[in-house]
């Protein structure tokens, strides 16, 4: 999702300037997008079915609501995405330049729509709105628009998509830095760095303000227990501090080895340093998130990495502006080595959202312990879990191998891979 708009940017520049280099750059990222897309498709299909296989009671009760996001995703975005991806990947010779640009743009729209419908689904589980209960206890939508315009969904969507673009731009910039440091494909390396650093700077900033800030405040309002657990705030405090580092000790209800800044948490949530923030002790223990250390660390990893991203990308933009980015080797090294971190930050962010929602499956309405498929035995669950783990490990190996190959192969060569021997020198 993050790469798609960046490819559109490259295609747009190519279309406006008639610049073949930008077209080649776009084609290079299309290939990487293609590999990602295949893995996205084959690992995404199981999710549509796992609601039913593993969470049958949940599906039965909430299908009238949850099903809407999922079927809208299929009908409005997967069809769009798959049709135009076919045109985009296979139709370059058959379509006009403009039509090819358009099909790339539609792939971008499709993937972003798909993200929206999934977030709508998750947001309803985080913050259920626009529903009524039927006599048999099941839920149904009471307002079609109310579900789609759930404020939680809009905030979460902005935050999530911005995170996706950060990943895309860090990957693009990192590959650019790799080419420059390696003194090969340098023309492309500079393009990748320029696009990656500018997009990365904009979206790293948006990630923290306003999207992260809004998300945090909205969460503090609607899931105060989660906020307390994320921040490691065991006791209600006036002028609550923010814990930057530390290890939560749930048994003794304290943070070990804390590095904290006083009053910042109150300020971040309520805009004043004296406000009272509710700690975990304000709530009954059975409503506490089930795994507080995991939640605490996920959140801190996400927020910490987000801060690092903005620092790195600010430096990148400054050096780009002073025309020194492409020759400053230490900064290129830093950008290159940042490649895995956005993946980690996004995963940690999702862990924060989902572990933070526990012990609820639908917040305040349905506990996780009542939602699973009680007719499936644990042995069957284990069997399929192991199967998926093995298969996904294999997919990960193929993914790394194939993407590595494309990077080694480099941009700007003929698109027909089959005719090309493996080369190490791109220029």
């Amino acid at each position: 999702m993050g790469l798609a708009p960046l490819i559109v940017v490259l295609k747009t520049i190519a279309l406006r300037n008639g610049n073949q280099t930008y077209n080649n750059a776009a084609r290079f990222w299309m290939k990487i997008f293609g590999i990602n897309f295949v893995l996205g498709v084959v690992t995404g299909i199981p999710m549509e079915f796992q609601f039913g296989t593993n969470w049958a009671r949940f599906s039965q009760m909430t299908g009238g609501v949850i099903g809407q996001g999922l079927v809208m995703e299929g009908v409005f975005s997967f069809f769009l995405e798959s049709a135009f991806l076919g045109l985009f990947l296979f139709g370059e010779k058959r379509l006009s330049q403009l039509a090819h640009w358009w099909s790339g743009f539609m792939v971008f729209v499709g993937s972003w729509l798909s993200g929206f419908f999934i977030i709508v689904t998750d947001a309803w589980m985080q913050h259920p709105v626009a529903f009524t209960r039927l006599p048999d206890g099941s839920y149904q939508v009471s307002s079609f628009l109310g579900l789609l315009l759930n404020p939680w969904a809009l905030i979460q969507y902005a935050h999530n998509m911005s995170g996706a673009v950060i990943t895309g731009s860090f990957v693009m910039a990192a590959i650019g830095a790799f080419y420059l440091l390696n003194e090969r494909s340098q023309e492309y390396g500079r393009i990748f760095l320029r696009v990656g650093v500018i997009a990365g700077f904009i979206f790293s900033a948006l990630q923290i303000f306003p999207t992260g800030d809004l998300h945090g405040r909205y969460m503090a309002k609607h899931q105060p227990i989660t906020t307390a657990a994320m921040e490691g705030l065991f006791r209600t405090e006036q002028g609550a501090p923010i814990v930057l580092l530390g290890q939560p000790d749930v048994e003794h209800q304290r943070i070990d080895n804390p590095i904290a800044v006083n009053k910042v948490l109150s300020f971040l949530i309520y805009g004043t340093t004296e406000a009272q923030v509710q700690g975990l002790n304000a709530f009954p223990k059975e409503d506490w998130p089930t795994n507080i250390p995991l939640l605490f660390f996920s959140y801190h990893i996400m927020a910490g990495l987000g801060t690092i991203f903005i620092a790195v990308m600010t430096l990148g933009v400054l050096f780009l502006w002073r025309n020194r980015l492409f020759t400053t080797r230490w900064l290129l090294w830093v950008i290159m080595l940042c490649l895995p971190f956005p993946y980690i930050a996004n995963t940690a962010g999702w862990l924060t959202a989902e572990v933070g929602r526990q012990p609820w499956l639908v917040y305040g309405l349905m506990r996780t312990t009542v939602g699973f498929s009680s007719n499936v035995s644990a042995g069957n669950g284990m069997f399929t879990l192991l199967g998926f783990m093995g298969l996904y490990a294999l997919l990960a190996i193929f993914f790394l191998f194939l993407v590595h190959r494309e990077i080694e192969h480099g941009p700007g060569t003929q698109p027909n891979v089959e005719a090309q021997p493996i080369t190490l020198a791109g220029d």
Partner: protein, 348 residues
């Protein structure tokens, strides 16, 4: 409203089988109709731009089912837990079989992914057929409408059957032959040379078997589940469906003889629509029959979502599907005609 959604779900599933059916069939036939690297690339070219879109029909069908009939979705997906998870693994294996082959110019690599593509397609088809067999035969529902089926218990369909018994296995074989013919028809219409000739020969060779299996499966169904004739005897207009199936088979036979591959492909589309339509006609208003007569079936009435969902869902769902069908028309027009192996285009 429930009936409307029954038709919509049936439409999605039929759409899936007809569309993804030909690329599954192409996968089954892949190893023996396409022998050289060029021929195999041609097979992948023929389905490459469309297979992913075809598979979306399965996803959208699953989503539609979830939305309109949550109980059916929950009960059947958890009850068929093992076979469904195996289907998901096969979908993964088959997907990478198609898409990763082209990336490395090495015979061993290509053979490996050709094998994944073909074996994945073959097993998927058998599982899909067996799934339909299970739905027709019925499953051991408990009073709360749930069940759990092991993969195989014994081979006789009874009150407590497994996923695979002789009847569902037969359904799997019917699906295998039907989709192989369907895929071979598609390949014959889309390709040239030896590949075209072998594909046509495959369809011709399997036609008699398909005709026999069609009759056998109908008789077996009457034997396993006699009540299924109820809708037909009460509303005899339904007997037009078997007539249409027979007509499709006949047109296919004549087209294969005269070498009109396009018409042969269209008639295998008609055949699949007829077979699935016939099953849906027999089942209605049941969605998942109970093999144990004491407990009731899952029907469109006890499985449907609330009325607001169903009423408003029809509106946006129809708009979305009309647009989606528009994309399909566009893509299929774009890639109409025989495929070629021009260089300079993307992959395969």
């Amino acid at each position: 409203m429930e009936t409307v959604w029954f038709l919509l779900v049936a439409f999605m599933l039929v759409g899936y089988v007809v569309l993804d059916g030909f690329d599954l069939g192409a996968g089954i036939a892949h190893l023996f109709v396409a022998r050289t690297n060029e021929e195999r690339r041609m097979v992948l070219r023929a389905i490459g731009p469309v297979w992913d879109g075809n598979e979306v029909w399965l996803l959208a069908a699953g989503g539609t089912l979830f939305y309109a009939f949550p109980l059916l979705y929950a009960s059947s997906f958890s009850g068929f837990y093992l076979p469904l998870n195996i289907v998901l693994w096969l979908l993964i294996v088959r997907g990478i079989g198609i898409e990763f082959r082209m990336h490395v110019d090495n015979g061993v690599w290509r053979d490996f992914f050709d094998g994944l593509f073909s074996i994945g397609s073959l097993l998927l088809t058998i599982f899909f057929g067996a799934a339909l067999g299970n739905v027709i035969r019925g499953v051991p529902l408990t009073p709360d409408h749930y069940f759990f089926e092991p993969l195989w218990t014994d081979f006789r369909p009874g009150a407590n059957p497994g996923v695979l018994d002789w009847y569902t296995f037969l359904a799997g074989i019917v699906a295998l032959v039907a989709l192989t013919v369907h895929g071979a028809n598609y390949l014959a219409a889309k390709t040239n040379g030896d590949l075209e000739r072998r594909s046509r020969a495959t369809a011709r060779g399997l036609w008699p078997l398909l005709a026999v299996l069609t009759v056998v499966s109908c008789v077996a169904t009457l034997f396993v589940r006699p009540p299924l004739t109820k809708n037909y005897t009460e509303h005899p207009i339904g007997f037009l469906i078997p007539v249409a199936i027979a007509a499709s088979l006949l047109v296919m036979f004549l087209s294969l003889r005269s070498g009109n591959d396009r018409r042969a492909f269209l008639s295998s589309c008609g055949y699949l629509v007829g077979m699935l339509g016939g099953a849906a006609y027999a089942l209605y208003p049941s969605l998942l029959p109970s093999s144990n007569p004491v407990f009731g079936d899952i029907t469109i009435y006890n499985a449907a979502a609330g009325s607001y969902s169903l009423k408003y869902g029809v509106i946006w769902w129809s708009i979305g599907m009309i647009i989606a069908i528009g994309y399909f028309v566009l893509v299929y027009r774009m890639f109409r005609g025989k495929v070629t192996l021009q260089t300079g285009e993307h992959g395969y």
